[in-house]
Amino acid sequence: MTVTEPSTHDHPDFLQHHWDTPKQQFEAGKLGMWLFLATEVLLFGGLFVLYAVWRGNHPEMFKFGSQFLDTKLGAINTAVLILSSLTMAAAVTMAQRNKRGALMILLSLTLAGALTFLVIKYFEYSHKFHEGYYPGMKFYEPPGSGSLSWDNDPTPMVHGAAAAHATEAPSPLVAANFVMPDAEPTTIAPPVVAPAGVSQEALDALYDDIVAEHHDDHPVHPLQDPNRPDNAHMFFNIYFLMTGLHGIHVSAGVIMLTWLLVGASSIPDRWPQITRFFLLKRSFGADWFTPVDLGGLYWHIVDLIWIFLFPLFYLI
């Protein structure tokens, strides 16, 4: 990588005043990006710990919940993201080699991958919402306490509204769970299967019949099934939290890729001045490709996080 043009062009226009050489500026940007990625890992790390704690204490809940996820769609999404990571890596190389046409094609492919992922995720989410597996207290109900009527109950589950609702129509759901100051503390039944030392065979045997039942034609809603494990909704809470935060990062990636794509094309002079404030002042080339490089790093970590999320929720 040759970045330092000797003396005559001592300070290229992209070099900020406090740097000596473009190489120094580039390396600082790269170090900064790696540190930012470290914060991303820790941000997700909190949720991974959450996952580990809940899975460690309640493996049956995850066993039960994961059967409602569509492995096929998840696998397609994984492939899409890995491919887009490949095109992103190639795009960085093309930027370094000053090949604008190839750079734009590869960035467009990456962007297409990001959008495909989001579209597939949208269908997955909307299916879950349609079925009622969304986060929140909608389906928290101790097993065996009667049928849930949440499909007919439009009350939003914020505390104040729920409390008001409780005074006029004390449904068992509301009375048991939402009016905390007056309610008896809810005792949590021990898990159906002891968390520690539970064998895989035992789990399989326990849930085979549940799976068999619901893969027929949904005679009863799975989350209303009296035989489901306690707190089964927690699986979907954690699923939506983790994939949701990841989805936000993919969306940020879409914005970033669009921005890079505009930066890679030449900006027409007739565009108003204000657009130049938001867009890059200069297009990429062999001497300056920092945004593509850093954007690539970001896109890889988004990909990497999904590679962990996919097996954790869909496969195991």
Binding site: A28, L31, G136, M157
Partner: protein, 574 residues
């Protein structure tokens, strides 16, 4: 390029000295949109001191309420809101950003010999994130307040009705301020890695930079966890997910783990930069080479690493397993080792030094004294058996005030007085500086040492009252005595702070013009003029041993130090 004549470290007074960073450009927008690290540092300083004033007023109200038994002028709810905001503002808005973002921003690039921090725009953005966070935090008062204590423990924070309006704004503020802190830390780490000029090796850096570096690691590595925690808290409160709330099947201790995984390292985010300042103060004002440079440097990094491994000592009584408690207790004790390394090295530096008892030095010495008390009482709390008795009493309150205020803020005040001539170009009145420092020192110890006794006698923290049913008359009378003394101490301290504010503001208008090097410091910031020029250095400065004071001599006419006239060479090279 590497050999710059250091025999004249002070720039020519007729030339560029006239154009300093304050006069470089004018107008309100030249400040609000500035990318100059010095101006951003000053803006941070003003904002942080304003927040300190607000939170300090809350503290005075709390102390006044506690002076007499019974409900005097604050209702219980108001009292709860008051101490919560006192804690939240002091921690998130004042002490965490105090040294790195204000003094660090100003001094770090100059000490390093750089023109600016690595990412000036990110630096400005970090400031505005602080402002937005401050607006959210303060707005919570008008939205119903928060009464959970600054720790926001669940299920109280997800259930309590009194805090209905305030929790979400405060949690949002914590999230935004976290990003502000991350960006500052990230910026400083990259600056120290990539902007050291030729000759500035790691072990030639002033110790303040080492401590800022260690702080940066903590800011980058710990803060994201509190970010995700408060997001979970907000979602839990809004939708009732059941992650933390035990009545919904959640795990409240998990929240405490998440919270303290950040908030214990945060204690070191607060104290490490202050320790770095004290390393500078002790060496410069006793005019003696710092003792054990590498030990102090590495102890900063060691503290940063240890601090990630001790969070569980906040939860000895939160149903952790006994084994975990013992492990956390043992690791907690080991933090004492690098801390003591620092203290003994400072004392060894003082030994046979020629000590000037300037205001900054008085703050430096106060730091050592109060950090000693604050640190050693931490051992009482880290011991499992005594912690059961002292947990959630005023002993804890006194302990962390000795560390956070008696050490972190006193260190910040020392740094402020040390670099005030450099930042403003004006000298403050030394006489009033010493008086105020004495008042703050005495007031602080009167306020908080009594609370050690109060706590060991059993007075619980966060109580608005200590009389009425359930309190025997003798208990009330006993606690009243200590509370009364403690409140008196807080008034003395407040007087000290008001005097400080008065003479510092006075110095801006009437202060004597500051020389380039009023204290005899050797690090690079004393080589540029006071206040520094816009670009810090016209050419790359030469880096010597920043603790070798033998090359400087006092100039009576200039009222400052300059390079010894009889020296031809840079002594480090000769």
């Amino acid at each position: 390029m590497t050999t710059i004549d250091t025999s004249k470290p002070i720039p020519d007074p007729a030339g560029p000295a006239e154009d300093n960073y304050l006069t470089h450009s004018s107008g309100i927008m030249s400040w609000l949109g500035t990318l100059d690290h010095k101006r951003i540092g000053v803006m941070y300083l003003v904002s942080i001191l304003s927040a300190f004033f607000v939170a300090g007023m809350f503290a005075l109200l709390i102390r006044t309420e506690l002076m007499m038994p019974g409900e005097d002028f604050l209702t219980q709810d108001q009292y709860n809101i008051m101490f919560t905001l006192h804690g939240a503002i002091m921690v998130f808005l004042v002490i965490i950003p105090s040294v790195p973002a204000s003094l660090g921003n100003f001094v770090l690039p100059i000490m390093l010999g750089a023109k600016d921090v690595a990412f000036p725009r990110l630096n400005l953005m970090s400031y505005y994130l602080w402002v937005i966070g401050a607006i959210f935090a303060v707005s919570s008062i008008f939205l119903g307040g928060v009464d959970t204590g600054w720790t926001l423990y669940v299920p109280y924070s997800t259930r309590t009705d009194a805090a209905m309006g305030g929790i979400i704004p405060v949690a949002t503020a914590v999230f935004i301020l976290g990003f502000s802190s991350i960006f500052t830390g990230l910026n400083f780490i990259v600056t120290i890695h990539r902007l050291r000029p030729p000759g500035m090796t790691w072990f030639k850096m002033p110790l303040f930079l080492w401590s800022i570096y260690a702080t940066g690691i903590l800011q980058v590595m710990a803060t994201p966890v509190i970010g995700i925690t408060v997001v979970l808290l907000m979602i839990e409160r809004t939708f009732g997910l059941g992650i933390f709330d035990p009545s919904l099947g959640g795990d409240p201790v998990l929240f405490q783990h998440f919270f303290w995984f950040y908030s214990h390292p945060a204690v070191y985010i607060m104290i490490l930069p202050a320790m770095g300042i004290v390393s500078e103060l002790i060496a410069v004002h006793s005019h003696r080479h710092i003792f054990g440079y590498r030990f102090i440097a590495f102890s900063s990094v060691a503290i940063a690493i240890f601090s990630f491994l001790v969070w569980g000592h906040h939860m000895f009584l939160s149903a952790q397993s006994p084994l975990i408690n013992v492990v956390f207790s043992a690791i907690t004790f080991s933090v004492a080792i690098p801390s003591a390394v620092k203290v003994f090295n400072w004392l060894a530096t003082l030994y046979k030094g020629s000590i000037s008892l300037n205001t900054p030095m008085l703050y430096g010495l106060s730091f050592i004294f109060m950090f000693g008390i604050g640190g050693l009482t931490g051992l009482h709390l880290g011991t499992l058996a005594t912690d059961i008795h002292l947990h959630d009493t005023y002993f804890v309150v006194a302990h962390f005030h000795y560390v956070m205020m008696g050490s972190a803020l006193i260190g910040m005040l020392g740094g402020l007085h040390h670099w005030w001539p450099k930042m403003t170009g004006r000298m403050y009145t030394e006489f009033w500086g010493r008086i105020a420092c004495g008042l703050i020192f005495v007031g602080f110890n009167v306020t908080f040492f009594t609370q050690f006794v109060l706590g060991s006698l059993g007075m619980p923290r966060r109580y608005q009252d200590y009389t009425g049913p359930g309190w025997s008359e003798t208990t009330t009378a006993l606690y009243h005595k200590y509370h009364f003394v403690s409140t008196m101490g807080s008034y003395i301290m407040a007087l000290g702070f008001f005097i400080t504010a008065a003479y510092l503001i006075h110095s801006l208008f009437r202060g004597r013009k500051a020389p380039a090097n009023p204290w005899g410091g050797r690090s690079l910031e004393w080589q540029c003029s006071s206040p520094p020029p816009h670009d810090n250095f016209s050419s790359a400065p030469h880096v010597g041993d920043c603790y070798d004071f033998s090359v400087l001599e006092w100039d009576e006419q200039e009222q400052g130090y300059h390079w010894r006239t009889d020296l031809k060479h840079e002594p480090g090279e000769a």
